[in-house]
Symmetry: C2
């Protein structure tokens, strides 16, 4: 797919896109949480270890944000994306801990034309992230808006 | 509610919590987006103005993260929170632009006991954020886990 600019027509239901990997450091976890989610288990390792997380755990919003960057780098920055109306759901299934390496993929669930803008379509995707032990830590279903390559 | 540590029992369906206000700067928008969502309309003002957003617009995940910090400061850091299993949905209804001031509130939708942990309960809340013109920009429904003050 190198050199290709992704447009609405390129998203085929059932197809799965590899979104690559991301190593998560303690410094990143503390930096994000200090600004946006300073609960003790996200900013202090000892508190995290004693919590349900079992270690210094990333804020769930940090996990979402890391996923967004992986999606950007995998295809979104090279696409006709017009943004997103929202997220269908997010599941934080297991803790994301310092030194974890996450691997993400996203499967196209459905596509539909915009009813008001003939040059636009909606793409619904379901993504998951696994850690280095193959355990699923995250699931998300989101919908993006993409310009069409060919307008009927 | 000053000096009170929020526990499961304090969340009453129908009650609304004021989560305060947040002014959004262009610098914050670009800083977040550069790391997590470097789509052109989030990092470049001219591109943002020419896009559907109509200005330098915050990443939707930045809006979520700012909401999380408002929730932390309003009550979560002074609560028995044990984290969250996920988000029911997010709606990004209007752009959040540089120099906007957001105001958030959250209404308790439902509470239920954990079926496996007698000292824990689930609280489902529906939050919204308005901008300085009173326009709703964001809606989210989330569920948090809180320890009980009294275990039956």
């Amino acid at each position: 797919m190198a050199g290709k600019k992704w447009a609405f027509e390129d998203f085929v239901p059932g197809a799965t896109m590899d979104l690559g990997s991301k190593h998560v450091t303690a410094e990143e976890i503390v930096e994000f949480a200090s600004e946006f989610d300073p609960q003790p288990m996200h900013v202090d390792e000892a508190t995290g270890k004693a919590s349900m997380l079992g270690g210094l755990g990333a804020s769930g919003w940090h996990t979402c944000s890391m996923f967004m960057r992986m999606m950007c780098d995998a295809f979104l920055l090279d696409s006709t994306s017009q943004g997103s109306p929202g997220i269908d759901y997010v599941k934080w299934m297991r803790p994301v801990l310092a030194d974890d390496t996450l691997h993400a993929s996203s499967t196209i669930v459905a596509v539909r034309d915009s009813s008001t803008r003939p040059n636009l379509g909606f793409v619904t995707m379901r993504a998951k992230m696994l850690n280095q032990r193959g355990e699923q830590v995250f699931e998300l279903q989101n919908t993006g808006m993409f310009l069409k390559r060919v307008v009927a």
